[in-house]
């Protein structure tokens, strides 16, 4: 199984979970059907024309109908964002396999899961809505609830215990490490340049190579650069995890982010940045580190609030080997690779596990707050949205591309604060993909259907799709796709003593052949040729019988033939042997030699010769011997 992501957009259908009681949210009117029927008013609430489920947010799990997940042997994880569904798989499906991921992926993935669990568990909600999921009722609901797919499979968040158990099933791997999977294939993670420890995977046998490229970046940010060279010579390249906002250039967005932040703070407003506790936030802090002085913002406090804020900031500094070259060299100076260390030291950046406690006493405005969750449905961000939403001086800047910012804002309407959308997605865009494919030159590209056509809203943008030759094979949800290659060859090992016994015969200069009699031993997809057991003396009884069952009969071997038959000389030979009426016809595959009187055909082709004569075994044997004279035997 390649990756194990969790679709969190389902949470956008739910009301936010406020950290402290929100009169506004708790007083939202219940929703009733057009005919006035209000049986759903406890489950569904209405806010500015949108309907939300008033319940603990639920997540949409990976597809489970198509495949029995208990039969999955291995899960390969690309990056920490792509493992958020892991506890659902490992703990509830009978999965007994192994998960492979790099160390930063696991550590930061754990932080993301921990934060998620914490956000949801710390505001227990008594109510659990399920009535609306009834298919007959769902049909009556307004969009987008009406159109939500597979709502019956939506699940509440996992627990920390499940997270720990899931993570214990992960085996850590390093870049370029070769991992044998049951002898069948070898898998290798490669740096993908997108996040700390993010990987692309190579899955290869001795003769075939499949690359799985997911969540990669060619930009120079904090992680190790993408390893492109190792992707070369792939039979198939599975390509996914491209940027979600192909029209937004990350550099331009960072510029927008900084300018809007400065303008807001300058006017005495606060800036709220809903974000994940790891990833782009490191780059944003680094940008701000360089920017705040030039923008005269040195005295503005920056707060980073997350249950895992401290661990995230510290982890980033210790994964030196997973960082880009510049940051790695800093470690040897020794200096912290990320400048946020200095921001913390100079008290410009302060971090807190939650807005309770120290934060409330330190809190100073105007300020900039980085906090989760980017869906705006849970986490400390809900509180700041409630607190700052009423003033047009404040600004919320969306930088995470995973959620539609308009949908995220829907339960907070009407909103006075300014909203800026600066999605920063450093993953590959289509221009970079096209360069990558030119460089790597896979025989086939396989990708989601969406990548093979321009986005529906910009159908003229031919540049916003994968353009490669041969055209990419696309797949859609729940579609089964046969990858365009066949396993034709297997590597077979030959035991030394058997190799010793071979007597090669040169059939052409440089090419020798030898006959081999051996036992092919196959175990764990490894094939070994072993010397055949010596024929045991017949001792009679059951034992002998069993032995002969096991070992194929060692009949006297017929010699093997090689070479080709020169037709002219063959005809001469026939004539010499008394066949006078020989006629030769050329065919597409070779020749037919006709012995008219004997009513006999000799069909000579590249890899076969047939003698077709009418019940004259003597003649056939004569002719066969003539043919054999022209071939080599060994």
């Amino acid at each position: 199984m390649l990756d194990c992501g969790l679709d969190m957009t389902s949470t956008l259908n739910f009301l936010p979970l406020p950290l402290v009681q929100s009169p506004r949210l708790s007083n939202l009117p219940g929703w009733s059907l057009k005919d006035g029927n209000a049986f759903l008013d406890k489950e569904l609430k209405e806010c500015s024309g949108h309907v939300f489920v008033d319940s603990v947010p639920e997540f949409c799990l990976p597809e489970t109908e198509l495949i029995d997940l208990s039969t999955v042997d291995v899960i390969l994880i690309s990056n920490y964002h792509c493992m958020m569904a892991l506890p659902y798989i490992t703990e509830h499906t009978g999965f007994t396999g192994t998960v492979y991921a790099t160390e930063p992926t696991v550590q930061i993935g754990r932080l993301l899961m921990e934060e998620l669990v914490n956000f949801i568990e710390r505001v227990p909600k008594a109510q659990s809505a399920s009535l609306w999921k009834n298919k007959d009722i769902q049909r009556l609901l307004p969009s987008p609830l009406k159109d939500a797919v597979e709502v019956s499979t939506w699940r509440r968040c996992y627990t920390m215990q499940e997270v720990n158990s899931a993570l214990s099933k992960i085996q850590l791997v390093g870049y370029s490490q070769k991992i044998e999977l049951f002898g069948a294939v070898q898998v290798t993670p490669l740096s993908s340049g997108y996040a700390l420890g993010s990987s692309n995977w190579i899955i290869q046998s001795h003769y075939e190579k499949v690359s799985y490229v997911s969540g990669s970046s060619l930009l120079t940010t904090h992680p190790q650069p993408m390893d492109q060279a190792s992707l070369k010579n792939s039979d198939v390249l599975v390509l996914t995890g491209l940027t979600q906002i192909p029209t937004a250039n990350p550099d331009g967005m960072v510029g927008e982010f900084c300018s809007n932040l400065a303008l807001t703070v300058r006017n005495g407003g606060n800036v709220l940045v809903p974000c994940y506790p790891s990833g782009v936030i490191y780059d944003l802090l680094e940008c701000l580190y360089q920017y705040i002085d030039s923008a005269g913002l040195s005295n503005i406090p920056f707060y980073f609030i997350s249950p895992v804020a401290n661990s995230s900031l510290e982890f980033s500094q210790i994964f030196a080997e997973w960082l880009c070259h510049n940051k790695q060299t800093k470690v040897y100076l020794p200096e912290p690779p990320f400048p946020h260390a200095e921001l913390i030291q100079t008290n410009k950046l302060k971090h807190y596990p939650s807005l309770h406690g120290d934060f409330s006493s330190d809190f100073r405005q105007p300020c900039v707050v980085f906090t989760g969750h980017p869906s705006l449905r849970f986490g400390d961000v809900v509180h700041f949205m409630e607190l700052w939403g009423k003033s047009s001086l404040n600004t919320v800047i969306f930088t995470e591309p995973d959620f539609s910012y308009l949908e995220a804002l829907a339960p907070y309407q009407p909103l006075a604060m300014k909203c800026i959308y600066c999605p920063i997605d450093t993953r590959l865009n289509f221009i970079q993909v096209s360069k990558l494919l030119k460089e790597v030159q896979p025989l086939h590209v396989v990708c989601p259907e969406q990548y093979t056509q321009p986005p529906p809203a910009q159908s003229h943008r031919m540049d916003l799709m994968i353009d490669c030759q041969p055209p990419a094979m696309s797949y859609r949800r729940a579609e089964v796709l046969a990858l365009p290659f066949k396993r034709r060859y297997e590597k077979i090992e030959i035991m030394p003593e058997l190799a010793d016994s071979l007597v090669p015969m040169e059939i052409k200069p440089g090419i020798s052949l030898a006959t081999v009699s051996a036992v092919l031993h196959t175990k764990d997809n490894k094939h070994v040729l072993q010397p055949p057991p010596r024929p045991t003396q017949p001792t009679g009884g059951k034992k002998r019988k069993r032995a002969s069952d096991d070992i194929p009969d060692c009949k006297v071997l017929k010699p093997l033939l090689s070479g080709s038959i020169p037709v002219e000389q063959f005809v001469q030979a026939l004539e010499k042997h008394g066949f006078s009426d020989v006629k030769v016809e050329d065919t597409a595959k070779g020749h037919i030699v006709l012995l008219q009187e004997a009513e006999t055909l000799i069909q000579i082709e590249e890899d076969s010769t047939h003698i077709i004569c009418d019940n004259d075994e003597m003649l056939r044997v004569r002719l066969r011997d003539l043919v054999l004279k022209f071939l080599q035997k060994f």
Binding site: A248, L263, R266, I300, Q458, R461
Partner: protein, 836 residues
Amino acid sequence: MGRGVTGLAPACLRASQLELFSPGAPGWPFGDFHALPGRRLCGRPLQIRQVARPGAGPEAAEGRGAGLSSLIMDPECSQLLPALCSVLADPRQPVTDDTCLEKLLDWFKTITEAGSSLLLLQENPCLLGLLCHVLKPQDLSPRVLAFSLRLAGMLAAQEDCFQYLQGDSSLFVASAAGQLLVHVLGLSLQGPAEGHPGLQTGDWPVCAQKIVSHIEESLRSAATPQITQALNVLTTTFGHCHNPWTQVLWVRLSPLVARLLEKDPVPAAHSLVDLLLSVARSPVLSSSSCGLWETLAQTLSHLSPTQAGPLALGILKLQECPQALRAQAFAVLLQPLTCVLEATAQAPGLLDSWDGTGGASVTVDTLLASKAACVGLLCRTLAHLELLQPLPQRPSPWPQAPLLGATVTILRLCSGSATPTSDAGGHLCAFLVGCVRVQRAALDFLGTLSRGTGPRELVTQVFAVLLEYLTSPDSSPTVLKKAFQATFRWLQSSPETPGCSDLDPHAQLFLRELLPVLPKRLCSPCWEVRDSGLEFLTQMIGRWGGQAGFRRALLASEVPELTEQLLRDPESYVRASAVAAMGQLSSQGLRVTPASPEHPGGQQKSLLAELLHILSTDSEGFPRRAVMHVFTQWLRDGHADVAADTERFVARVLQVASQDLDWEVRAQGLELALVFLEQTLGRPSSHCPYAVTPPVAAPPGPLAQALRPLCRVQLFEFAFRALFDCDRPVAQKSCDLLLFLRAQTASYSGPQGSGSVPEVASVEAALQRWQAGDQGQPLGYLEPEVVVAVLRSMDLEGLRGALAESSDRVEKSPQSLLQDMLATVGALGEDEADCY
């Protein structure tokens, strides 16, 4: 980044002024002899090398080789020359610095222009030896070869010398170098063919015939380099010689040239275009009926769209040319834009009427062949049209509207906002999205198009696309700069409201949308963006600062406050631009009280004080120079803060400026001093402030009175210090200022003679000490009489003359050059070498 608005050139290397005044030389202002520190006054002539050091210096900007003034070869140089020639002829001693060779050529040029080349060759046989030597096949560097060929060409330019050279036939046999061939051809035909224009090539001198045959042979060759060489020779020939024989030559060779067009692809297309244009520009050839226009038309249709562009532009620039050919050429230039319009389903309109070539499909093929081809063709086309637009001979009617439409469309294709309606359009869009090169070219051209008008809806589209670029986070800093420039030009060209010189309502509407964008740009993390935003702002205030509509919009925005904030930007260019913008804002009364979170309710610091602070403390030169420009302008305009106490202001500024390490700041200080001087004494009658006007009878009393403020602000101390400034432009400027002042005071009947007042003597003594490098002691307050007496006793004219001479004339002497070249290859003894 260039400094557009403030006109401040970035600092390059600066060289200290090496040569001050030779004792007793005309430039020496006083009679006495003083040994100058740092100079060697022993036997060998001064060999003070320029030592480049960082900082701003005028010397670096000067052309090289201007100071090789010796007109004859002196014996010292003659002695050095053989050694140098053998160094040049030796491939084992490579000459790495070809500027030396350039200088050497310059020197030879001066010598040959002043005297006889023949004599030069006869007296220095080593030169001929070198010329002969380089012709032998060997591993000589192309630099030396080129040098030798150019030298030979230069020498051959004189008839007697040409004859002398002709004696060595191997030169002509071996040399195929274009320049020389042209010279030789020209010279050989000067005598015989000139008198008889009808003379056929068969009657030409043997040597000319040989050259023509060689060219013919080359033109027939299959090797492109040979063809290129032949074409280049012809281009130079027709470019330089306009004698009747060139017509004979062209008639003979044009069939061969035309035959090149039959090849596919056309070989050496670039050189062919150059040749044809050179022929077309030749008055002898273009007026004759030698099939030139037909060849040009044929070439236009044979060349690829990319190659045909420069030819089309060249044709359209011709003063006289058949109308049909002009139409064809213009069609070639317009073709790519027509394709763009068609690809986006817009009627090309007037562009159609120019399209008579039928080359559309080739152009479309080029545009769609590859991204590189598409981008290249569009950029070139836009650049050509931009060059063509302002010319009086540009085609008429000028298709302004379709060109505007096409340019706007290209910009939209680049930003991804255009909607192509065909496959071709889709491809164009895919090629152009995000292409910075095309964006820059299109914005430049769009700016140029602002000189014409356009239909209202198109102008609206222009502003819309400009706003799109100014707003887009994806606009690169350079694109943004161009967008700002184009915006300013379009705003400038928008019609003014009748009755007042304010922006027209449409432009005002645009401005209302633009002003919210500007603060964001001023807050950009990219300093180039902040800088171009400020430059744009300064231009805008300069143009509309007095207009009510603009003032209202500006004051309602955060722009003035942000601009003030940028005075403390970490980037010095931005600080400089902010200084210029603040100067303008303040001049127009548009500065607002800052209410930043850091200074809530804080007292507004006077901008004058803030700028003075920058002038005295900023570590970079640009902001300080910008402050001096603003102060000068303020003084000139009578800015309120300045007018409050002008003397105090000038005194303070001069005091700070005199201590500045940047010569441009000090020079600008003199500019400010001059403005003050003019305001105090009255404007000079001449337009040129430095022109020495005939003495006007000025009554002594009032003049002394008038000089007193100058004395109080210590202007003279500043000017005298500047007179001995180590940077020449400062010294020159000061000298001019003092000359002007002296002329103003000529009629002043104060104490005459420098020795008559003891104070004068003491000032002179102090000045001599300053000149000697000891500038520690200030002059203190000077009475007007003393100043006048000192001014009269100084040889300011002589000083000006000395300063006008290149400061590094010793260093640039031919002898020094020869020694340098020999020293770098170690041909001189180490102890003698005076190396860098």
